[in-house]
């Protein structure tokens, strides 16, 4: 029996994957860097247009079980483009567009010596993995997509191969990642052993009627699966790769890791717990609750003592992971509301964090810092003093991103994201977690505002950092992120309603 494939449904990852291979070939035939960059940009843009077209049309599903295999069970489709998938594909592609824009100048820079063809190929391959991951509804596809997302990123981190820091960062990321993949696969094998199914819509009912003596096996399987995703979203105790890798990797790759890769990780986690494991909400709910509380507290406390901009963003994005995990701590109680809160927070976080990274990249690139090193110049927070006098527009954008991350007005979108998460957490009966979150929000105010205040302070008098870049691509990236942040702050209901509609 031949299975029909709905090519319209799989168009976004397909376009990106085909473009990736075309880029690799074009590079082999000596295409110029400019052409490669434009093709890469065009492919991500085309995929974004396809996602919007899919969002306007019917909801689709493909790679479904047919005939005898299906029996009387649920449809069991491996690849589904529902509202959840489309929101995440939109977020991933929009963020990827900004990352490609940021990398255009980074890899052509005289001192960088990054191979352009490989860079764009690996970046597009990772994006294709992320797009597939958010649409996967079956454990096999989920694992393969997660690896398609992870493996190119290791190579991207290590791409500056003459540089000891970059390869060390890549080694740390690689070892932690493959170990967590192995643990997650063992967890999946236990779940498969207990249920005999791989499709999430078959795993869920089977888990509901597990015989009593097998319940501990299923519970261990659930916890091991969570471990794999906890690594991807940099939740404590799988967080320690994040600051080192963020610092060692080329900066556009760092932006990719902290936004695209994290959003896809959260999508995968949400898919697995909400669709596959609702019967074990009493197991993963408290586990995720404790993880969320520890993650946000540790992230914020360590961020307080950071002096380097990149490491501060790394710890702050660990802390933000804690906020995103918090709604899921309610377990199977009021799950749809919790999923909507997590989706809304991830979407809003992506906009503000990619904006902050765009400014940092623009700032450091122009400053002519050595491409890397244990303590690169123009990376400490004090270097940002007086930015408002030299580049008022960039400083205003940065201040706005930081205020959004802190969740203060006028950064209304950050505020709304936090409120939605609070409401879902309290409604689900995890009041203690809401209290921990409130305390953490106050701690985080300090370092976000201290950075924002430096932008407007008088210059420190020491060597003046040069002006911000004139490069059109970095400016376009900052402008796009700032426009997104302003639109969502004026009308946060755009995201909140879309997220509420998925359930």
């Amino acid at each position: 029996m031949i299975q029909s494939i709905d090519y319209a449904a799989i168009a976004p990852p397909l376009i990106v994957a085909v473009a990736a291979i075309a880029l690799l070939l074009a590079d082999a035939f000596g295409a110029s860097r400019r052409v490669l960059g434009l093709v890469s940009l065009g492919a991500v843009g085309a995929a974004l247009v396809t996602v919007i077209a899919l969002a306007l049309g019917d909801r689709r599903a493909t790679f479904c079980l047919t005939g005898d295999l299906r029996g009387n069970g649920p449809p069991s489709c491996s690849y589904v483009t529902d509202d959840f998938t489309l929101i995440f594909q939109g977020v991933v592609l929009a963020a990827a567009l900004v990352v490609v824009l940021l990398s255009l100048e980074e890899i052509t820079a005289a001192g960088a010596r990054l191979p352009a063809g490989e860079f764009h190929f690996l970046l597009l391959a990772a994006i294709a993995g992320a797009l597939t991951l958010v649409a996967a509804r079956d454990l096999v596809l989920l694992v393969v997509a997660l690896e398609t997302l992870s493996l190119p990123v290791f190579a991207l981190v290590a791409l500056r191969r003459y540089d000891g820091v970059a390869s060390e960062a890549a080694l740390k990321l690689f070892l932690v990642s493959v170990i967590s993949t192995a643990v997650m696969l063992f967890g999946i094998s236990l779940l498969y052993g207990v249920t005999g199914a791989m499709h999430l819509d078959r795993v869920a009912p089977a888990l509901g009627r597990v015989p009593g003596d097998l319940e501990p096996v299923a519970a261990v399987g659930v916890v091991m699966v969570l471990a794999g995703f906890a690594f991807k979203v940099a939740a404590v105790p799988f967080h320690f790769w994040a600051p080192d890798v963020y610092q060692g990797a080329p900066l556009p790759v760092t932006a990719f890791l902290s936004v695209v890769s994290k959003a896809a990780g959260f999508a995968g986690l949400t898919i697995v717990v909400a669709l596959g494991l609702p019967a074990y909400g009493h197991v993963w709910g408290p586990v995720l609750g404790v993880l969320a509380a520890v993650t946000m507290t540790l992230g914020n406390l360590v961020a307080l003592r950071q002096r380097s901009a990149i490491r501060l963003l790394a710890w702050s994005s660990i802390a933000q992971s804690g906020y995103m995990l918090a709604p899921l701590a309610v377990g199977d109680e009021r799950l749809p509301e919790a999923v909507a809160a997590t989706v809304a927070y991830v979407a809003i976080y992506s906009v503000m964090n990619i904006g902050a990274f765009a400014v940092v990249i623009g700032f450091r690139r122009r400053a002519g810092a050595p491409a890397a090193g244990p303590a690169p110049s123009w990376d400490t927070l004090d270097d940002y003093r007086g930015l408002a006098r030299r580049n008022p527009a960039t400083a205003a954008a940065m201040a706005f991103f930081l205020i959004c991350l802190a969740g203060l007005p006028p950064g209304v979108m950050g505020l709304f994201a936090k409120i939605v998460v609070f409401r879902a957490t309290v409604a689900g009966g995890a009041t203690w977690l809401a209290v921990v979150m409130a305390v953490n929000t106050v701690i985080a105010l300090y370092y976000y505002l201290a950075w924002a205040a430096r932008l407007f302070a008088a210059p420190s008098g020491a060597a003046e950092p040069p002006r911000m870049p004139r490069g059109a691509a970095v400016r376009a990236a900052i402008g796009a992120a700032a426009a997104g942040a302003v639109v969502l702050s004026v009308a946060p209901q755009l995201v909140l309603q879309a997220a509420a509609a998925i359930t």
């Binding site: 290590a158 000891g164 890549a170 993949t181 643990v183 052993g193 005999g196 600051p243 080192d244 610092q247």
Partner: protein, 99 residues
């Protein structure tokens, strides 16, 4: 032999791999231990597939093999670059990035 024996063997292999990852200091050996964990997973998948009488478990075993092969390719390349710059493949020597 019942599938149970294979599952015990798989759990043992996974544990050996896990302990190896934690105690060994050479990046190559750590990496080999990860491969051992992945193969333990494959054994568990195949035994469960035999228990349930369906093919899903055997199918994912193939995908795990492909994933493991891809990981070897990327992983060895990274260890090579580390070795070239540092003349050592011990994970204790990877100490440029801290705090």
């Amino acid at each position: 032999m019942s599938p149970g024996h294979y599952l015990v063997l798989s759990a043992l292999l996974f544990t050996i791999g896990g302990v190896g990852v934690l105690v060994r200091r050479n990046a190559i050996v750590v990496f080999m231990c990860v491969e051992l964990m992945l193969n333990a997973t494959n054994l568990a998948f195949v035994s469960f597939a035999r228990m349930h009488g369906n093919l899903d478990g055997q199918l994912i075993a193939f995908f795990v093999m492909v994933v493991a092969a891809a990981e070897v390719v990327v992983g060895l390349a990274i260890i090579m670059t580390i070795f070239r710059t540092r003349r050592s493949s011990s994970v204790d020597d990877a100490n440029l990035l801290k705090y």
